[in-house]
């Protein structure tokens, strides 16, 4: 059986988040060490900082108008960014051999929350609210299919904060099995009061911009955003998707295993599947949420497997935790090391917690990065590590 999968070509990628609406805007913000975490624009009864998208989002017109939500408008922005690459993709593969596999944790919760508040005030849902067009996973799939022309299999993974990392593994499996030739993968999440209030109720939210791995860290900052990657059986790659490791903690529904056993297993599986060792990895984009427990568990897992040398960065101090979009977003951010030859400073990490025995990059580091690992860990004890390789 295929335990060592063939590397898959990444032929296009884009993202949108608080740092900007394209790869170049995000790169520039990272280079300038600009955190964009700001006070929440969503009214909540406590103080917190969030990473909100500031760029203008395209509207969905014509036949797609009934599907128009903030989530699908971010989808439209991402598809627009990849116009040329998607055109080339469609030229290489039949539409029914192109899959759409996305991740989200919120789906249309922001729209449903607004509809629910309208319902409480008026005893009826808004006239234009439609659960199947504005809330469900099928809604964003429909929009993505219409905008991209993909007609192959399509689904949305929803495993909380690993939601958009898992589609990379699925696409590699389906391409490896000959079930598809190409896949549009990624994820999108939007801000909503329920998410902010829920994390606040769990005691996991910081009142200020998050500070992953810092001695002063006290919780996460929520962000919104999206990212897409085009994965193909062939083509001219920007980078290679080498392997993905997946595991479960089997420990607790919302807390990580204290020693990061499941996290370590996911990283180890990614390395085993790629037939490489810890020394072959030049950089890790950590899940690094900024909660005391999460960062300790992940640092322990990294330290056990990789030792203390490999430079580790959490980019959540720039973008916030984009939840269901984090896996794909951070895979794209990690790939910048492969293509651009530098990694950003881990924003907010100084002074690094003395108990974090790994190499947190507190300054930008330039160099040759051949292989990078991007971690995502989630409620339910769901863990994913994505291993990318330079061309």
């Amino acid at each position: 059986m295929t335990l060592t999968p063939e590397p898959i070509a990444i032929t296009g990628m884009t993202l949108s988040n608080a740092l900007g609406g394209s790869c170049n805007e995000v790169r520039n913000a990272l280079a300038g060490r600009e955190s964009r975490l700001r006070p929440s624009p969503i009214e909540v009864p406590f103080e917190t900082a969030v990473g909100a998208i500031d760029s203008d989002l395209p509207s969905l017109d014509g036949q797609l108008r009934p599907w128009s939500t903030r989530l699908t408008r971010i989808a439209a922005q991402l598809v627009g960014n990849l116009d040329a690459e998607l055109g080339a993709l469609r030229g290489r593969w039949r539409p029914d051999r192109i899959a759409v596999i996305l991740g989200t944790s919120t789906a249309g919760a922001e729209t449903t929350e607004a509809a629910f508040r309208h319902f409480l005030a008026t005893d009826r849902l808004p006239a234009d609210y439609d659960l199947w067009r504005q809330h469900t996973y099928g809604a964003v799939l429909h929009v993505m299919r219409e905008l991209t022309g993909a007609r192959g299999p399509g689904w949305v993974v929803s495993t909380a904060c690993t939601s958009s990392a898992k589609p990379l593994a699925t696409a590699q499996r389906l391409i490896g099995a000959g079930l598809i030739d190409a896949a549009i993968v990624g994820g999108i999440d939007t801000l909503c009061a329920m998410t902010l209030c829920g994390f606040n109720a769990l005691g996991a939210l910081s009142s200020k911009p998050c500070r992953p791995f810092s001695r002063a860290r006290d919780g996460i900052s929520i962000g919104e955003g999206g990212a897409l990657l085009l994965l193909e059986r062939g083509g001219e790659p920007i980078a290679w998707l080498e392997a993905v490791g997946e595991s479960s903690d089997a420990y607790h529904i919302s807390a990580p295993h204290p020693k990061g056993l499941g996290a370590q297993l996911a990283m180890q599986r990614a390395l085993e599947r790629a037939r490489c060792g810890p020394a072959d990895v030049d950089h890790i984009n950590a899940h690094g949420t900024g909660t005391p427990l999460n960062d300790s568990a992940e640092a322990n897992a990294i330290s056990e497997l990789f030792g203390e040398e490999v430079p580790v960065v959490s980019t959540k101090g720039y973008t916030g935790h984009t939840l269901g979009a984090a896996g794909a977003t951070e895979a794209v951010l990690a790939s910048f090391a492969l293509t651009d030859g530098w990694i950003p400073a881990s924003q907010g990490a100084e002074p690094v917690d003395d108990k974090i025995a790994i190499n947190i990059a507190t300054e930008r580091i330039s160099g040759k990065f051949r292989r990078v690992l991007s971690n995502s860990f989630a409620f339910g004890g769901n863990n994913v590590s994505v291993l990318l390789r330079a061309v």
């Binding site: 335990l3 929803s158 699925t170 329920m194 595991s247 529904i253 409620f379």
Partner: protein, 262 residues
């Protein structure tokens, strides 16, 4: 048409209020009173906190996994639902906006779509693969597709579980309402070209169905996951042919059923 490979059916499971197990369904042995899923194989704390959907999915999962002799601590599982923990989400919205209270932290943690897969992995101490997905009425087809990719890659059994809570009445019109149902099917690699002692499946692919879905009450037939029940019924009936996985409300995905004597 998407290329497809063959797998064999290794076990099935089910929970519906009138038929709490696949064996009850097969024998058409209706419960005297509608049942709620007990979640008896979950940890005590999880059982108390989990939703009806999570417990129904767990019941169906364990029945199929047991029937297939899947090693619970190691097997892979794919959970599917269109709306997932929508009842828990509505409860949170009620707390926040009707009652003006802070939402329950545990309800928030269990409102994620992967609540059932997480709770089951904890109960079985399984550090292996699990996922949760949705694709509206195509959820059963796409969960099967994910499972078949896993079998191709790993050569090991996968349990597919799909289910839906009763309709969220605040969000769905009465004439579209459905009842709770959860179904599971354990799939395994075929053992060779000449395998003739078990039911095999090929797909999913887009095609015209040659088999007709079961005759179900409307409230069951409207459940977005009913396609998996139709597949289970076709397997139980021992009839070869192509069965629709979406009752015409999705993208037209079907599965071919290959029975030894069908």
């Amino acid at each position: 048409m998407t290329a497809s490979m063959e797998v064999r059916v290794a076990g099935m499971g089910l929970f519906m209020p009138d038929f709490p197990t696949a064996a009850d369904w097969h024998a058409q042995r209706r419960s005297a009173e509608p049942q709620l899923p007990s979640g008896s194989r979950l940890d005590r704390r999880a059982r108390g906190r989990s939703s009806v959907l999570t417990k129904a999915l767990a019941e169906a999962y364990f029945e199929a996994a047991d029937a297939a002799s899947v090693e619970l601590g190691e097997g892979s599982a794919v959970f599917g639902s269109a709306l997932g923990e929508v009842g828990t989400m509505l409860g949170l919205l009620n707390q926040m906006w009707r009652d003006r209270e802070e939402p329950s932290p545990m309800a928030f943690a269990l409102s994620v779509h992967n609540a059932a897969s997480g709770v089951v992995s904890i109960a079985t101490k399984n550090r292996g693969f699990t996922t949760s997905l949705g694709a509206d009425h195509d959820t059963p087809a796409m969960a099967l597709m994910e499972a078949i990719g896993l079998i191709a890659e790993r050569g090991e059994p996968v349990v597919v579980v799909c289910g839906e809570e009763p309709t969220p009445t605040a969000l769905v019109p009465d004439d579209e309402s459905w009842e709770l149902a959860a179904m599971a099917i354990a799939l395994a690699p075929t053992r060779g070209d000449n395998e003739t002692d078990c039911v095999r499946l090929r797909g999913p692919f887009k095609a015209s169905a040659t088999l007709v879905g079961s005759d179900l009450r409307a409230a069951v037939a409207r459940n977005p996951q009913v396609g998996l029940l139709d597949l289970i019924c076709a397997v139980e009936a021992g009839r070869s042919g192509t069965i629709a996985l979406d009752r015409g409300r999705g993208g037209g995905w079907c599965m071919e059923v290959l029975c030894p004597d069908g």
